[in-house]
Symmetry: C2
């Protein structure tokens, strides 16, 4: 039986590889799409030139549907006081690593979707363009639709799903609190509003008429079959792909995912300024996972040199070790094998 | 097909009515057990005499298996400083309601399982005795087994499930973070350790050989079918029963469960001293859901008079409005109808 997402996209398998900025690029997207799933290219950390290069690679590598993903945050103005506070919290670590705090450049590159990005997309007309942290301005959204791309967007609450349906998206990604990486939340900043997949999925399915894609905690074929049986039109899976050959996951991140300590993740804003799920590491443990850091994405600037210095010693103490609450499905196989394995019980 | 819990208990339906102290007693347990599920009597807020009376009622009301549930916390010593701090936080509310803080009695009744409780159980030999917040001392646990009762206990992490298996329990209740009421956590006090049902259930099923009961976010027949299909030996459902005829749920609590605001719950220690999931109300919003309150169960003392005074005005501003993250399954029907409805898609 075909789900509505399979029909909409002429997709062989109802498996969406979650876009994961910083740990994968076009190679994974191509592999997943060629295997019959929907591969995704995360653009949040790409400059426009890199984005064009990656899209050219995908166009050369597959003729199957694929997804191009963007963040939709409002670019923040610098906040000198919060930045100073954040650096003061990190000062003992700078001292430990012999880092001159004055040498650290401000900010970090994570650009929201823009007219320039849309212009590049026009040459590629991807089957799907997906958004995180809400939607772009109405004229940009209309621009995406005008090139024939379907628009998907993450919802983390029932209220966000209803809002997205009113804005005219084509499908909603119900991002349960189990999911790794950034929470897509955009109508609230209160992390207590975030709901587990098992409670979020059925309530969103009840609340909207659109196809609903389940995300969060789906680690293997049993998980995929469970969400499809529970009303999802597709399963979006991220963490399970992080050890795949095509992933650019760092060595410390790969090691952390295979350690029993991966069972303890938390929502943290220490790495970017927005809540995101990471395996608990030293900085999260010692400073607490949530704190008064610079606004997204600027918080990444101050911690960046510590991350690099620690990783050079083989330590993930200051690295974002993105992971969902179920890392048990991670396998060091090709993304094509992973995609087929995820669909094996449908 | 019979699940292992059905076989173990000769149970008609793999439905366990979650024990919910303060909102239900023997009437609900009898109704659920007579309908083919496993009814539960929560004893945490009962004195020994009341417990014996309730057990006599159950023995008279059903010859089917039932569950008797206890908390296993260590009774705290009073902490004058924390109590003073907690009362200072509440002082503006005392003033608003004209409550003389000096008149408020300390503490609140929530006794852990004891030798005296075991002695009473011996006359009834319930099919199941279940525990929350870990297990009682070894000799008490042996005593429960010696009367022929099966021992169930909540686990909120994989580590807790493995520990419980080592202690010799007969089944594990995987309590996902979606669940209403008190978190059963006992190996950690860190609420970031708490995992969604969709990630917790499969990881506990993988980690132990015992039957695993799923709890948290299961609101209706689709939810029950989903967890059974996903490896659970039974579904434990609480919130959906809160509007049932046999529930003793207060008027303000019933109203809150039927309001769209029920979609926003949070883990809070404001009502008892331990994290528990409640619909967000005034005190949680204004003071924050988690705070430096007196240790469990003493925190309930200071807020009690505010709860009573507000409820007298029809307000649930200071009441524990226990609810899971999916209250959409609540129906004002008999507990027997609810039990059969929950099993309708198996």
């Amino acid at each position: 039986m075909q789900t509505s997402i399979q029909t909409m996209l002429k997709l062989e398998l109802p498996i969406i590889q979650a876009p994961m900025a910083g740990v994968q690029g076009s190679a994974m997207a191509i592999a997943v799409s060629n295997a019959g799933g929907l591969g995704s290219l995360p653009c949040a950390m790409l400059c426009l030139e890199a984005m064009r290069d990656e899209l050219n690679s995908i166009a050369a590598g597959t003729d199957k549907p694929y997804n191009v993903n963007f963040f939709c945050h409002t670019a923040p103005s610098a906040d000198a006081q919060r930045e100073a506070g954040w650096r003061a919290e990190l000062a003992p670590y700078y001292a430990e690593y012999g880092i001159d705090a004055d040498s650290i450049a401000a900010g970090a590159r994570r650009d929201p979707f823009s007219a320039e990005a849309l212009e590049i997309l026009q040459a590629f007309r991807p089957a799907v363009v997906s958004f995180h942290f809400g939607l772009p301005a109405a004229e940009l959204l209309a621009g995406v639709k005008s090139i024939g791309s379907r628009v998907f967007c993450s919802a983390t609450t029932v209220a966000e799903a209803i809002w997205l349906e009113q804005q005219g998206v084509d499908a909603i990604i119900a991002q349960g609190v189990e999911a790794g990486g950034h929470r897509g939340m955009f109508l609230t900043e209160d992390i207590t509003s975030q709901v587990g997949t098992f409670a979020l999925l059925p309530q969103i399915v009840q609340a909207v008429k659109l196809p609903v894609i389940a995300a969060g905690g789906i680690a293997d074929a049993d998980g995929v079959a469970a969400v499809i049986g529970f009303g999802a039109a597709a399963a979006q899976v991220g963490t399970a792909y992080l050890l795949c050959d095509e992933a650019t996951t760092s060595d410390v991140h790969r090691a952390a995912l295979q350690d029993p300590a991966a069972r303890h993740t938390a929502l943290t804003n220490r790495f970017s300024g927005r809540p995101a799920r990471s395996i608990v590491n030293r900085v999260m443990r010692e400073l607490g996972p949530m704190g008064e850091v610079s606004p997204f994405p600027l918080a990444a600037g101050a911690i960046g040199p510590l991350r690099s210095a620690a990783e050079a010693r083989g330590l993930g103490d200051f690295s974002p070790l993105w992971s969902g609450q179920n890392a048990s499905g991670c396998r060091a196989v090709s993304a094509a094998q992973m995609t087929r394995a995820l669909a094996a019980k449908l």
